[in-house]
């Protein structure tokens, strides 16, 4: 079955500290992987995506993610968190088996930033 697991519901980090949000997926075909961020009451913004090639991908706002096929993981990282990074983060997986390009989303990780 196709699924995305974000094992951490909440994570709290201090401003300036490093961050890693975990994402594991189950997908039968070659996956396309995404991270989105959502501020309260807003839509989702695409942070970064992985289709193929270099397994370390860079995104907006200083975020990066690493695709590890052997671990079925696509963890999101940031070396130094800013207070404005407090939000909810969603990992998603999809593929190109048909033209619908549907995505499967994880349940999200809420990031809190301590001053």
């Amino acid at each position: 079955a196709q699924s995305v697991t974000q094992p951490d519901i909440h994570i709290t980090v201090s401003e300036g500290a490093s961050l890693e949000l975990r994402c594991n997926y189950s997908y039968g075909a070659t996956p396309y992987l995404f991270w989105y961020v959502q501020s309260p009451g807003q839509g989702l913004q695409l942070l970064l995506k992985y289709f193929s090639g270099d397994t370390l991908v860079q995104g907006i706002k200083g975020f990066e993610a690493e695709f590890k096929r052997s671990q079925s993981s696509f963890n999101l990282r940031k070396p130094s968190v800013h207070w404005s990074d407090a939000a909810e983060y969603f990992c998603a997986v999809g593929g190109s088996e048909d033209s619908s390009y549907k995505l499967i989303f994880g349940s999200g990780t809420r990031l809190l930033v301590r001053p």
């Binding site: 839509g43 989702l44 619908s100 390009y101 995505l103 349940s107």
Partner: protein, 112 residues
């Protein structure tokens, strides 16, 4: 550049009343369109998607329906709202060349 609009931004409706939420995309042609619902504190549930005008696929049985009367317009409807229809409704689009989806600002629906 492409933009996606949703309206209204917020809506409070009584149980049993009809619903119509609208989503439009600008700056692209033949997009795939999607409707999601996000319950409080939860992830996204795909409700409907469309790969072309008049082509609607439903992901879950429910009290809602969708239509795509024009290439860049996607409408979510209900004839009679239930309390369980409350939530945050998000519209998204993707292009024909890649699966990344771009989201609208959302509509907060409260059914009372």
């Amino acid at each position: 550049s492409q933009t996606i609009h949703q309206w209204p931004a917020t809506l409070v409706q009584p149980v049993g009343s009809p619903l119509s939420l609208e989503c439009t995309v600008e700056g692209t042609s033949n997009p795939n369109l999607y409707w999601y619902r996000q319950a409080a504190g939860r992830g996204l549930q795909l409700l409907f998607y469309s790969v072309g005008i008049g082509q609607i696929s439903s992901e879950v049985p429910q009290n809602l329906s969708a239509s795509r009367p024009q290439d860049r317009q996607f409408i979510l409807s209900s004839k009679k709202l239930l309390l369980s229809d409350s939530g945050f409704y998000l519209c998204a689009w993707s292009g024909r060349t890649g699966p990344e989806q771009y989201f609208g600002p959302g509509t907060r629906l409260t059914v009372t």
